[in-house]
Structure formats: C-alpha cells, structure tokens
C-alpha cells in the first residue's frame, strides 16, 4: 500500500490530512501492520485540547497497547465513532475509513515540520 502524497506524517507513525485549519488524523499502514489485529481504540472526547506531542488516545492490538501522539496541537472536533464497534477498520483501511479524529489546529505552522510521503517511506524503510 502506498502512502498518500497529500498527507503529512510523523515519526510516531501518525498521518494527518490537512484542509485549511483542520486535519484528519490516523495511524499509518506501517503502524497497523506492526501492531497486528487491532481490538480496541480509545479516543478523546470532542472538545478535548492537545498540544503537539501529547498522548491523545491508545490503540490496542492483540500484541500491545500503543499511545497515539498528537502530531500537531489542536482541539478535537470529530471522532470516528464507528471504530468502537469495528476497530479492525484500522487494519483494513488505515489511510481511509480507519481515520481516528479530526483536529482543529492551534497553529497550522506546526505541520510544516512533519514528513512528506517520500520522506516517511524512507524513514520507515530505514527503521
């Protein structure tokens, strides 16, 4: 699976899809394949605010529970509640219907420091 070129990526394996001052956020193909079968996702409530680098939730697979870090700071405006009943969507479509939340960014400039698709792919291959 390729990494969408319009996304920005963090070294903690999250992606964001920026649209104005909002960003949809998920975990990457690489992250889901490392985790294995996802059985539970813990997401923040709408309205919660995060600074860049904060833990905003957890993804639990049969192997491990991993924190999700905020690649950019902001306020949660939407949560993918479908994941509650079918967390496996994250394995099946991590860059699409397996999205986690939508953030309203505090400072869209923070996204500049994130990786583009090519840089992220290189990072993953080297890891």
């Amino acid at each position: 699976m390729g990494y969408p070129t319009q996304f920005r990526y963090s070294k903690e394996h999250e992606w964001i899809d920026l649209a104005g001052d909002r960003a949809k956020l998920g975990i990457t193909e690489h992250a889901q394949s490392e985790l294995g079968d996802v059985v539970f996702v813990e997401l923040p409530a709408v309205g919660t605010e995060f600074k860049q680098g904060d833990t905003l939730g957890t993804v639990e697979s049969v192997k491990a529970v991993s924190d999700i870090y905020a690649p950019v700071g902001g306020k949660v405006v939407e949560v993918n509640s479908d994941l509650e009943a079918s967390p496996e969507t994250i394995n099946q479509d991590p860059h699409g219907t397996g999205w986690l939340i939508v953030l309203q960014l505090t400072d869209p400039g923070e996204a500049d420091a994130l990786l583009d698709a090519a840089a992220y792919e290189k990072f993953v291959n080297e890891e």
Binding site: E42, S61, A64, V65
Partner: protein, 440 residues
C-alpha cells in the same frame, strides 16, 4: 534468575550512578530507631546458631494461639477446613504466581478462572481480576481506577474505613496527585452520604464499616451521578448481606484473608477486586480467560495482558501486574469446600455469635454499644474503665482484643472493637463477658 556477582567496584559505580555515597546512604529512608533496634539484637557478631536461636525466639512471639482471639479489623480468626491445606499444598498448585505458560499450567489457570467466577458470584459483579496483594492495595487501586475512568482527581471516602486501608489510600493518592475528601460518620455509626461535594471521581464506602456497621447503600449510586461507587467489604459477610453489584457498585474490593487464610501477623493477605465489564480496560491486575485451543479443546490462559507492565512498561494500567496466586487458590478451595449454603450458614453463625456477645456485654452496667445500627460480626463497645487497662487485663487472662488505640484513631477513645467468628464457643463468649464484668 541467574546469579550476578558484584564487586565492591561495581557497587560503588551503581551507587554513584544514582547519587549515593554508600549502602547506608542508600537506605537512609529506614528510620534510625528501627536500625537501632536491629543493632540491639546483636545479630551482626553472633554465630549462625545464635542468630537462628534468637530469631526463633522472636518468631515464637507471633503466636495467635496464645489467646482466644476477638481480633478483627480486616483479619479474622476463622476455622480452616483441612481440605484447604491438602489441596493447596499439592505440587501442581503450589506457586506464588500466575503462570505464563498455559501449555503446562492448565490446573492453576483453571483454579484462577474459578476464583474469578466465585468472586463475581459473591459480589454480584461481572468481572474480577486474579487477585491483588491485600484489601488495602485493592482499595487504593480502585481509587486510581476511578480517576482514570472519570478523568477527575477527587475521591470521597467515608470516615469509618479501617485505618490501615486509609493510610495506604493516602499514600497512593498523595503520589498520584489525587485529593481525598472525607465523609463523616453520623450518630448512628453510618456514613452521612448526603454530605459530599459534586465532581468526585469515586465514592469509597466500607461495609460492614470500621465500626462493624452495615452501611445503607440503596440508592447511593443514583445520587452520585457518573462517579464510581466503590465498596470495600468482607467476603464472608456476603453470605447474608446483599451483594454490592445489586445496588449498583462499580467496583467491589475486599480482604480475602477470611477465606481460608490463617490470621498471621503481617500476612500473607489477599486482595479482592471485581468490577463491571465496561471497565475491563481500566481494571488493574491480571485476568485468566477461558478459550478454545487449536484442536477445539476448552482451555485457560492469561488474557488482556497488553496493559500490564511486561508489555506496557511504565504506561501499564497499574504497577501491581501480578497477583497473590497461592492465597487466591486457597480462597477458591475454601469457597468450594463450603458451597453456597455452607457460606450462608457460616455467615449467619458469625452474625449470631457477635450479636449474642454484644447483647450480653452491653447488659453490663456502664457498658453500651456505641451505635444502634445493624452490625455484622464486629462491634464497638463503650466501656466505663480505661479501655487500655481492660485490654491489658484481658490479655493477661488469655483473651485477645484489639489495641484500643486503633479505635481511638477513629475518634472513639472509650471503647473496644470486638470481632466474633464461628470459632468462638459459648463458653469463650461468656468468659469474656465475666472478665469485662469483673474488671470494669
């Protein structure tokens, strides 16, 4: 674990890495009087034979059979059927830990699953963990869990909580930055449950409480909104009292010692912890689950381990990611030996004995029950004489009651807390009455 030898140079290097100058410096948290007392035993210059003799002499002081026990406060002198020790001493079972290898540990894992199931039946809850260290740590973990589940930092706790539970709770909460608000005890010995601030993460109620009184908990859950109702209880009392699950408890904790574990000084004890399914991922400790193996056979294995320390390290749900396996097994065998009817009868016997004694003691001129509310197998007797004098006098006559200073720490300076189990005979109860009557 492999033995790793350390040279003096290794020790110096390790000490300097953590900023300590010597071993004494490392252990500087141990209070000096304790160190002095140890020094005064003169063990460091004694031969092995002398050390052994001295320690045996000290250990022999820890002998509950030196007296007839009316001690309670969380640890009780119950009869232990001989089957309990026979089963738990079998080598297949005799381990302190939950085993990691299900392929060679089905017996122990099955027993663990039974333990969890029995605890759920007893408390009326949906899931239980494989046990914790003791009643106090189980309660403190419940407080932490309530703050995780609600993302709030205030815990309300009733005054009539065993003082040692409270101290452990205070320590945990202090370290986690959790504020504790105390709910006073009313004149009836029950908590004034209408008196607490909103915005709490959880409400901790002990029932039967530290005065032995059964709290009135119907409707309490409804009155605290989405805060968690945490009930600390005595498992034997649940043979006749309403299981906390049926009045809406979110977490039930308890001390499992009454379930077949001897009343030793300092333990071992057994922490009980049960909650609702929806809190599975907030629950501390480990869980044994039932599953089907590759050939379709029923099997047991540890489950939901992804939040424990060996996987999540410092981000684990709790730093108690183990359990008191042998004590939990003991409780399982004990409950299985008694059965449901047996437990009910035992529970009633405790209640009857305690009520007989309470009635007789309170008929002594000058003596009275501190509270008029329903109690289980423990009660507070107000006495006209200095309770410490009475306590010492009873001890001299071979009768053990609790040091009244414990009760004084809960605000009752003129009383004795007395616990009665099925083991106390009518003669023993009457003897206590005669002695108190003669000494008052």
């Amino acid at each position: 674990m492999r033995y790793i030898a350390n040279s003096d140079a290794d020790r110096r290097e390790m000490l300097s890495a953590i900023g300590r100058t010597s071993l004494d410096d490392l252990f500087s948290d141990i209070p000096q009087p304790v160190k002095d007392k140890f020094q005064s035993l003169g063990l460091s210059s004694a031969s092995e034979m002398e050390v052994s003799a001295k320690l045996e002499r000290l250990a022999s002081l820890n002998n509950i059979s030196q007296g007839i026990s009316f001690l309670g406060g969380g640890v009780y002198d119950h009869y232990i059927p001989s089957a309990v020790k026979h089963v738990t001493a079998r080598e297949e079972f005799y381990t302190a830990y939950t085993p990691y290898q299900p392929e060679i540990s089905q017996g122990t894992l099955t027993a663990m699953f039974e333990f969890q199931t029995l605890l759920c039946e007893l408390t009326g809850m949906e899931i239980a963990n494989a046990s914790m260290y003791d009643g106090a740590t189980a309660l403190a973990e419940a407080a932490l869990m309530a703050t995780r589940a609600t993302k709030r930092k205030v815990i309300a706790v009733t005054h009539a909580l065993f003082p040692h539970y409270r101290r452990v709770l205070d320590t945990y909460c202090w370290a986690a930055g959790i504020e504790i608000v105390e709910i006073p005890t009313g004149a009836d010995g029950r908590a004034e449950l209408s008196q607490f601030a909103p915005g709490i993460a959880g409400l901790i109620v002990q029932s039967p409480n530290a005065f032995g009184i059964v709290e009135e908990l119907d409707g309490v859950k409804e009155s605290i909104g989405d805060a968690l109702l945490i009930v600390a209880t005595n498992p034997i009392s649940l043979g006749i009292l309403t299981p906390p699950g049926s009045y809406g408890a979110d977490i039930v904790t308890g001390e499992g010692q009454p379930l077949g574990i001897p009343a030793s000084f300092g333990g071992p004890l057994l922490g009980l912890f049960a909650t609702r399914n929806s809190y599975l991922r907030q629950m501390p400790g480990r869980v044994v689950g039932q599953t089907i193996d590759a050939d379709g056979n029923l099997g047991y294995t540890m489950t939901a381990q992804t939040r424990e320390q060996h996987i999540r390290r410092q981000k684990a749900t709790s730093n108690i990611c183990t359990n008191a396996q042998l004590c939990a097994l003991t409780a399982t065998v004990y409950l299985a030996s008694l059965g449901g009817d047996g437990l009910r009868q035992l529970s009633i016997l405790n209640l009857k004995n305690a009520h007989y004694l309470a009635e007789r003691l309170s008929a002594i001129p000058g003596c009275s029950l501190a509270f008029r509310s329903p109690f289980y197998n423990e009660f507070v007797l107000r006495v006209p004489a200095d309770p410490r004098k009475l306590w010492r006098g009873l001890k001299e006559n071979g009768i053990l009651v609790e040091d009244p200073r414990l009760l004084a720490s809960l605000g009752i300076g003129d009383g004795l807390r007395i616990a009665v189990t099925e083991k106390r005979t009518r003669e023993e109860l009457d003897r206590l009455v005669d002695l108190v009557g003669g000494m008052r």
